[in-house]
Subunit: 349 residues, 2 copies
Amino acid sequence: MDKMCLATAAIAAGLALTVTALAVEDDVTLLKQAQEQFKQLPKDMATPDFPVTQDRVQLGRLLFFDPRLSVDANVSCATCHQPSLYGTDALPKSIGVRQRIQARNAPTVLNTALHFVNHWRGERESVEDQAARALTAPVSSGQPDEQAVIDRLESISGYAPLFEAAFPGEQHPVDVRNIGKAIGAYERTLVTPSPFDRYLAGDVNALSATARAGLEKFIQTGCAACHNGAGVGGHMYQKFGVVEDYWVATGSKDIDKGRAEITKDSADLYIFKVPSLRNVAMTAPYFHDGSVATLPEAVSFMARVQLGTKLNDGDTRDIVAFLESLTGDLPADFTTIPILPPAAVVAPK
Amino acid sequence: MDKMCLATAAIAAGLALTVTALAVEDDVTLLKQAQEQFKQLPKDMATPDFPVTQDRVQLGRLLFFDPRLSVDANVSCATCHQPSLYGTDALPKSIGVRQRIQARNAPTVLNTALHFVNHWRGERESVEDQAARALTAPVSSGQPDEQAVIDRLESISGYAPLFEAAFPGEQHPVDVRNIGKAIGAYERTLVTPSPFDRYLAGDVNALSATARAGLEKFIQTGCAACHNGAGVGGHMYQKFGVVEDYWVATGSKDIDKGRAEITKDSADLYIFKVPSLRNVAMTAPYFHDGSVATLPEAVSFMARVQLGTKLNDGDTRDIVAFLESLTGDLPADFTTIPILPPAAVVAPK
């Protein structure tokens, strides 16, 4: 190696060190930014109003998987929130009892108790409220009234002692409110920690370089203005179609007025709950109407419709890599199915 | 203690010893009888034609739990054969796609590959044949034709490499016959060893005294004439209603002509496959039409209708205790749900 060459090598090495140092500094800056915008998932999602007790979780888990709660005994919570599909059903809009179609896409049940309200339009206060009201909702479980739900449950003798244990001291523990509380308690355990949580805890290498680039673009493009917090979304309302009408970009056929139909306030036109992006890579299709089948398309549409930004393919790829780092480990209590108390559902003779 | 008393005690002790000795002798006799009539479950149910390879089982398990194979992407094998209900759905007759009702009760999928034929009327040769033909059956999966099944599977990119691994060297491995073979291979692993298998292996105390009394009555009453072998049934055809018409006893509303509808032979009138009694205590309701909700009723009806025997309550209770000893351990690959390759099912724009 001659002198010139040595000098060049020395400069190159110096540059490499500088680049590495800059990269490390950038990594630290990005991590700090991320820690300001997002939060690690909690261990469970109990609140003072909705405690997670072992008896409630055990009962709620059985109820979650029991199709016999529905009017024809063939639809359970797990029908639209299948463990094998990360708590969704891969459909634009779920098919409930008697081939009735839900009005909006079924979001995953995972981490959902984090959300500040439930349902796309915020018309359910909590996962408990959602579960209890689904039982007599015409499309979900389709029971004609609460008494029909109770009658069905009382025909399965194994349940009574479990309700007594989960709601001690109550005179009539088998009750729709308590079904909601038990299913809710179970859902409050369905937390899916992911590589992104390890990253937020300080392990920069928990995300690939591509995913980190995607995270940076996710923040810089403005996605994190709404998709933030522990849920990476789920914590506020937002208009869908800030810059242009969403149905133009997504090709949606039915125009959904969103929260305006609940509040009857025109200020709520096209307002929906910002969905959580936890496990988003596993829960296609996307948006309130399930109109978009793949994640790259969804990312590109959102940038255009919400932020007026045209992402190039590289940006989209990086952001998708970041979103894939939100795919978490499923709880064993979700992928392992409980054995239900046996009893046939037979029409009275 | 005076002499008289001592003598009495000695006689009593002698009697007790004799009774114990007789009981032990009876136990040995009963075990021998049982070993002649029944067999322990095998480790798996592979045959030379239908091998159980790891790649096939892995693929078949995914397909078994994937609702996207059905026409509306909302019915999987596990819809009617739910792990939480021991491979059944607790319904008299299952509800398939589009609220269509099956003609007969869905038997459990557990240990079913042991059966000499499949379906109540024997019109399916094997579990592979059943699985493959269910895909285009109007009530089960409801796909219009085989190409529709293949198109759906090919829209889920994660499947192609799994088919290639399971059927190496084949030019078009994604094929309805291979779907049947893969699901069949998985089903051939669904074996549920129970206390009765430990009993047959020689451990007399694996069954309670009541269950042993029930086993003895089960054999003596004549139940084992049809319900025998490893499946405790599933190995022959028999007329339902040997002594009197079954629909009188069970209150069945529709009279099912059974195998005669398949063979067009009047000798097959009311002939059905003898169902396996493995896990029968967990798989109510009973009979080809699911017309009977509880096991004691089913036992009592069968004795009356098939054997002309009126069982008293004690006999029925003992036989039920024996049947409960056929409740086995579920395989982990059945109660633990696999994560499916993600992909939305969205109608083309």
